[in-house]
Every structure is written in structure tokens, then in C-alpha cells.
């Protein structure tokens, strides 16, 4: 069964662009575009990995992270911050709250994302290099 990735992301263009290579790699990609519906969406979708933005309408992504890591049902889900708001304070705070990694949107290109996800999920990245025994 395909692993599920949830984007908590309000930017339509960003989500469209960055979900294409993940879908092409066979992941099931879903999205919560409203910060307030994010936790509910996580409880319904039960994703294997969450990409979480910080600047969201009406709510701060770090508050969502805190909520997810405090709930027994969701604290085991891997959460990667994916944001353009990469101040040192935010990175430190996110890691303290239990984020698994912190990516800056402007430093990540979509074609690299599937390999990063594979590594985070403990799968073998598709490097294009085949090892023949």
C-alpha cells in the first residue's frame, strides 16, 4: 500500500508543484489547506509523513506541531517543517517540539523531494544507481 504524505500548506501553487514528483514516485499525497482543520485532517488521514508550513492563515504551524506531538494518536507520525520562515529561533523551537527535520522551501527543489521522503520513511532512495551482485 502506498505511503501517505500530508501537506499542511495554504499555498496552492507550492502544493501543486511539489506534489507532482511525490505522486509520480507512487506516494499518496493529500493536503490540509486550512491550519484550523489540520489536526482533524491528520486524525482522519493517518499519514506516514507530514510536511508542515509555519505561516498559515489564522494559526501558527508550530502550535499545530505541539498539538500533534502531545496527542497519543499522532505523536509517532514523522513531521517535517517545510517553510520559508527559517529563522534560527523557529528551527530550534520546532526541533524542541519534536519535528523530525526542517526544510527551507527555497532550498528544496521538487525533483529532490522523493529521495528525501524515502530516507525519512526508512526506504531506499531511488538514486538511479543500480547495484548488481
Amino acid at each position: 500500500m502506498a505511503k501517505k504524505i500530508l501537506f499542511i500548506e495554504d499555498d496552492d501553487s507550492f502544493f501543486y508543484t511539489f506534489s507532482i514528483p511525490l505522486t509520480a514516485r507512487g506516494y499518496n499525497v493529500v493536503r490540509a489547506s486550512e491550519g484550523f482543520q489540520a489536526v482533524e485532517k491528520v486524525l482522519v488521514e493517518r499519514p506516514d509523513l507530514i510536511f508542515l508550513d509555519i505561516v498559515l492563515p489564522g494559526i501558527n504551524g508550530l502550535d499545530i506541531l505541539k498539538d500533534l506531538k502531545e496527542r497519543d494518536e499522532t505523536k509517532g507520525i514523522k513531521v517535517v517543517m517545510l517553510t520559508n520562515f527559517g529563522t534560527e529561533d523557529n528551527v530550534k523551537r520546532a526541533m524542541e517540539l519534536g519535528a523530525d527535520d526542517y526544510f527551507s522551501k527555497y532550498n528544496v527543489v521538487p525533483s529532490e523531494l522523493p529521495d528525501k521522503v524515502a530516507t525519512l520513511l526508512g526506504e531506499t532512495p531511488d538514486t538511479g544507481i543500480k547495484v548488481v551482485n
Binding site: D10, D11, S13, F14, Y16, T17, F18, I20, P21, A24, I54, V55, L56, P57, G58, I59, N60, G61, L62, N84, F85, T87, K105, Y106, V108, V109, P110, S111
Partner: protein, 287 residues
């Protein structure tokens, strides 16, 4: 696919030009910020100024950089995807990615123009060109441009223009910018199926324009602050509802450059009522 390659080349060049422009503007802005900070600190020592909403600070610059990075991330990401993955993408996906690049470039350009306008206002170099124009026509024309945005939220727009507003001298492009800012804000805060009303009328020697929405309204303690720079950031660093907050600052600058006033009231029974006035001058015609 030669057309696609040409498009990509053009977009890549445009991206580089944008990036250079952004870096240049940001560097200039940073230098100004540094100087302003220094001057501000000195002023505070001298006059014991309390915290002003006009202060350019680290929080504001962080938010501005975030707003610049958002469209840039999409431009960079979508072009990277087309260059590296073109053979695996469908025609529709490529067209959609190119549309994302075009839209994000437009957003970036608007933001850069806003930053430049505020810089000009700060430096006292903001100029308007007052020539004979028709305000009711401009209101109707501006409304027609935002029609697609209204349709998305099924918002009903009513325009009530009194027939006694004469043709008078104002900068049509700049007043269009004010109308756009006020209408965009009204759409942003009005819920689905809500109403927006624009009223234009003459009161003696001034023309008055009202933009009424049926959103959540502006709390009383925020009303005096919203036309000042960067107040949104001071209120909440990480929430996006209010964007950069530059639109109202620029609108105030434009209206005041015409000799008019702009303010906000409560719209009864619900929402916000933005009002701006312009002096009705028919003689001369150039400032």
C-alpha cells in the same frame, strides 16, 4: 519541443533578472533599515519615544523576506521540475507549471512595486500626476477587473454612484491602486456569499468613496493603527491573514498626496467601512 525550450529560456532569464532586482532592493532596503535603526535608536534616546508602529524592525524584514521567498520558491521549483522531469510530465502539467511561474512572477512584481512605493513615500519622492479623469468610470472599470475574484467566493458587488460627481483632476492609475487595495481586502475578509458595496458621492468640494464589506470588521483598538506601516507584523508574526500590510500604507500615501483623507469605520450591522475623499479640482490639472 523548441517553443517550450524558448519559454524556459525566457523564464530563466526573467528569473535571474528578478533575483538580481530582489537582491538589489533588499540590499538597499537593508542598508536603509540599518540606517533607520541607528537614527531611530538615537531619536529614542533623545526624545524617549514610545514604540512606534512605523519602526522597521527584524520581525518586519523577516516577514517581508518570507513574502518574497514564497513566489520565488514556486518559480524555482516549477522551472526545476520542467527542466529535469519534462519527459515524464503531461502536457497539462507543463502548462499548469508554466502558469504557476507566470502567476508567481506577477505576485513578486506587485510586491517589489509595493516596496518601492513605500520607499519613495518614506524618502518624500512619491509623485502623482493629476489630470482630468472620471471617477465613476474608474470605479466601474476597477470592479470589472476583480470580477473573477468575486466569482470564486460568490460575493455580490453593488456599485452605487451618484450622478453629480464631475470629471476632475486626479491620478487615475494611483486611485485605481487604492480601489484595488480596498476591494481586494474586502474580498479577502468577506465570507462566501457575502456582500460588498461601493458608494461614490459628492459632498461639496470633495468626492467621497466608500467600500463596505460584510466580513468580521476591524476591532476598535486596531482602527487607528491599520494605516501605519508594519502594524500587522507587530500584532502577529506568523499569521498570514493580513499579508505584508503594505496596501493600506500605500493607499494612505496616495490619497494624502491628492490632498484627501482615508479612514475606517464599522459597517452596520457587520463588517468594515473604508472611506476615502479626494478634493474635486477641475482647474489646472498637473502636479
Amino acid at each position: 519541443m523548441p517553443i517550450l525550450e524558448i519559454l524556459l529560456l525566457v523564464l530563466s532569464v526573467a528569473q535571474v533578472i528578478f533575483l538580481v532586482l530582489i537582491v538589489y532592493l533588499y540590499t538597499r532596503k537593508s542598508q536603509e533599515v540599518g540606517n533607520l535603526h541607528k537614527e531611530n535608536a538615537e531619536l529614542r534616546v533623545k526624545t524617549s519615544m514610545s514604540d512606534s508602529p512605523d519602526v522597521l524592525d527584524y520581525d518586519y524584514i523577516s516577514m517581508l523576506v518570507h513574502e518574497l521567498r514564497s513566489p520565488l520558491s514556486v518559480i524555482k521549483g516549477a522551472s526545476d521540475l520542467i527542466i529535469k522531469e519534462a519527459p515524464t510530465l503531461t502536457k497539462e502539467q507543463i502548462e499548469m507549471l508554466l502558469a504557476q511561474i507566470r502567476n508567481s512572477s506577477g505576485n513578486l512584481l506587485n510586491l517589489v512595486n509595493d516596496i518601492l512605493d513605500v520607499s519613495k513615500m518614506n524618502a518624500g519622492r512619491f509623485e502623482i500626476k493629476k489630470i482630468s479623469n472620471n471617477l465613476p468610470s474608474l470605479i466601474k472599470e476597477t470592479a470589472s477587473y476583480i470580477e473573477p475574484l468575486l466569482r470564486v467566493k460568490s460575493i455580490n458587488l453593488n456599485i452605487e454612484v451618484n450622478g453629480d460627481i464631475p470629471t476632475f483632476n486626479f491620478d487615475a492609475e494611483r486611485i485605481r491602486q487604492v480601489l484595488n487595495n480596498l476591494l481586494s481586502n474586502a474580498i479577502k475578509f468577506t465570507p462566501k456569499d457575502g456582500d460588498i458595496t461601493v458608494v461614490a458621492k459628492r459632498r461639496g468640494d470633495i468626492a467621497e468613496v466608500q467600500v463596505k464589506d460584510t466580513g468580521g470588521g476591524i476591532p476598535d483598538d486596531e482602527k487607528p493603527k491599520i494605516f501605519h506601516k508594519f502594524v500587522q507584523v507587530h500584532n502577529n508574526t506568523m499569521m498570514k491573514e493580513k499579508g505584508t500590510g503594505l496596501g493600506l500604507v500605500i493607499s494612505k500615501g496616495i490619497v494624502e498626496a491628492h490632498g484627501g483623507k482615508i479612514w475606517v469605520e464599522d459597517n452596520k450591522p457587520k463588517g468594515a467601512l473604508f472611506v476615502f475623499t479626494l478634493p474635486v479640482e477641475t482647474a489646472g490639472g498637473y502636479k
